[in-house]
Amino acid sequence: MEGEKGTAADANARNTPLWPAGHLPLEGEMAGRPEGGAPLQKPHRKTNRRLFRAPSHLLHALTHAMEAEDLAGRDGLLQSLDPRAKLAGTLLLIIAATMLHSLIGLGLLFALAVVLALASHIPLTRLMKQVWLGVLAFTGVIALPSPFLVPGKVVAALPVLHWTITEQGLRSAGFLIGRAETAASFAALLVLTTSWPHVMKAMRSLGVPVAVVAVLGMTHRYIFVLMTTAAQMMEARRARQLGPLSPADQRRLIASSAGVLLGKTLAMAGDVHMAMIARGYRGEVRLIDDFRFRARDGVALFLAALVPATIFWMQR
């Protein structure tokens, strides 16, 4: 029993790479082409629409799970810290980013994230692809109208449309993008330098109940199982299909696939429960806690706590 949850959580690290390694149908294959290869056949215009998709950022995250293990194993600054200190420290820095009332301060905090990434041997191109561009695309679109819509001191006007740009609007857009980028960078640094089972186990140190940590570990594991099942179901359906499906049939297919998947999910919950009971589970969850908190972890956590404390003191 002692190792029940620990084993389940640790299994993530071992099993996740199976998905992105190409053994299972991936996004590309769902659309009729193998990953990285030429199209098998020209898909029909109507069937070309992907019914099950793993969005690119998610697929990247899955592929990166394997690479993250590699990055987490490197000899860098953040890798050498205790996961509990790293998790608490990251959270403090993210809170600091949401507290700041100064654009210069946000810039400095972002620079800190960049320095930490370099000190941990995380390539900046990696952060750019995984975090910065994605956040800029999403938050940038939301912040774009802000210079025109937020009232304040007019600093410029668009030549033809005569829309006025305000200083307050520009600052506001800067705050939104700066905060989102900085917070997302710190969150990514945590996940890239810590194996996922360790992040979950470290959550206990923040007072997250042990049952929640166990559920998180199992959820994380079964996401890959269910995504694999869903992808296989869709491929099996495609293999038995001649000609295009009408949109109404596609909707029916999606609803029934979700229904089948739900049935499988609940059956699996029963199986997993019985397996747990068979191995001595009586409703109490215990995790193996093999972390060691050293002096350098204490220093790192103190420095991380100093940032929001200083901001709080200066903005009083």
Partner: protein, 357 residues
């Protein structure tokens, strides 16, 4: 709808965490008591399901596609308490490991989608489905409406959370520190997408899933249908023509715009002050002239109640015809909901007093 870090102030985040905490506590107590040792595996696997169902790409009318959040499905199959835990866990995994939604905004995201979404979906589903049989068409409609309403209420909550940021949080120059748009921009911008595409995706997948389960795995619907009548449902087929007739009447409601003049006796204070409408009143009343001044009682009581949608056309609606149809939909929907609530209440009273039936 996943709010990232940096859009909400730390105090808003703290308030949303505080608001979500009691729900999480009650839900974990209830689910733990109900499921005992099965709680951990069930919640884990259903969280993973909620995550996976968001990957299903649904073709929508008009050539676009959307994906469902799945809060309606979880609430209908598991009930609101287990659903709010499962969706919260799915959101936490998304925030921490996939960067979808912020870590400081997790409380807000969980409150909007997991807690309020599940409660709205479950409440509406139970209300509309009533005691209809498990295989009744009414349950499909109930599921669809529950999914549609749940995602829209969640979106509205998120929009309000965004919209109050510029009211409270500015820097020294007056620049908003967090989400910069006031409620008047945030609410329409957010609701436009959710009332249409996102809502439609949730509607189709929740309704479709209920229909699928009715046919192949009706047992899964039993948990949230305690009073479901036994036997095969006929209600939808029997009343289908009546519903079609009601829909036709709603669509035809702008015909009311063709009618000339004002309805006799439905005059307002302005009608007595305007010479042209005074003449119309006199002509319609066998040339008996209306009183010189506005009747004192009318003047006093006219300000007592102001209708939310005056003259069947909301203030923001430029098309009168569309305003009439919208008013017909809202009015008809409210009447149907009232009767459903009354019949549910009556059913409960009847069950509690068996001798009366």
């Amino acid at each position: 709808m996943h709010i990232p870090d940096g859009y909400l102030s730390p105090s808003t985040c703290a308030v949303t965490f505080a608001a979500a905490a009691p729900f999480w506590y009650i839900a974990s107590r209830k689910v733990g008591r109900m499921l005992n040792t099965k709680a951990v595996p069930l919640i884990s696997v259903v969280s993973a399901f909620c995550f996976t169902v968001m990957m299903f790409n649904l073709p929508l009318p008009g050539g676009t596609t959307g994906h469902a959040v799945g809060m309606g499905i979880a609430a209908i199959v598991l009930g609101p308490w287990a659903a709010m835990l499962a969706i919260s866990i799915a959101l936490l995994v998304q925030a921490v490991f996939f960067g979808d939604g912020g870590i400081t905004a997790f409380g807000a995201n969980a409150l909007n989608m997991a807690i309020v979404g599940s409660l709205v979906a479950y409440g509406l589903y139970r209300l509309i489905a009533g005691t209809s049989p498990l295989t009744s068409g009414r349950r499909v409609v109930a599921g669809a409406i529950a999914g549609y309403a749940a995602i829209n209420v969640s979106a509205l909550m998120a929009a309000i959370e965004f919209g109050i940021q510029p009211l409270f949080f500015h820097d020294a120059s007056g620049a908003p520190l967090y989400a910069p748009y006031p409620l008047s921009i945030a609410v329409p911008a957010m609701m436009l997408g959710h009332l249409t595409f996102a809502g439609l995706a949730e509607l189709l997948i929740t309704g479709g899933l209920v229909a699928y389960l009715q046919r192949y795995d009706a047992d899964l619907l039993k948990a949230t249908a305690p009073g479901a009548a036994a036997g095969v449902a006929v209600s939808w087929k029997a009343t289908r023509r009546l519903w079609a007739g009601l829909a036709a009447l709603m669509i035809a409601s702008p015909l009311g715009l063709i009618a000339a003049g004002t309805a006799w006796g439905e005059w307002g204070v302005e009608a007595f002050q305007n010479p042209q409408t005074r003449a119309e009143i006199a002509a319609a009343s066998h040339n008996i002239a209306p009183p010189e001044g506005v009747p004192a009682g009318l003047e006093k009581l006219s300000s007592f109640w102001t209708a939310p949608i005056p003259d069947y056309a909301p203030a923001f609606m430029h098309s009168h015809a569309f305003g009439y149809i919208l008013s017909a939909l809202i009015g008809g929907g409210l009447i149907i909901l009232t009767f459903l609530a009354l019949s549910a209440l009556a059913g409960r009273v009847r069950r509690e007093t068996p001798g009366a039936a």
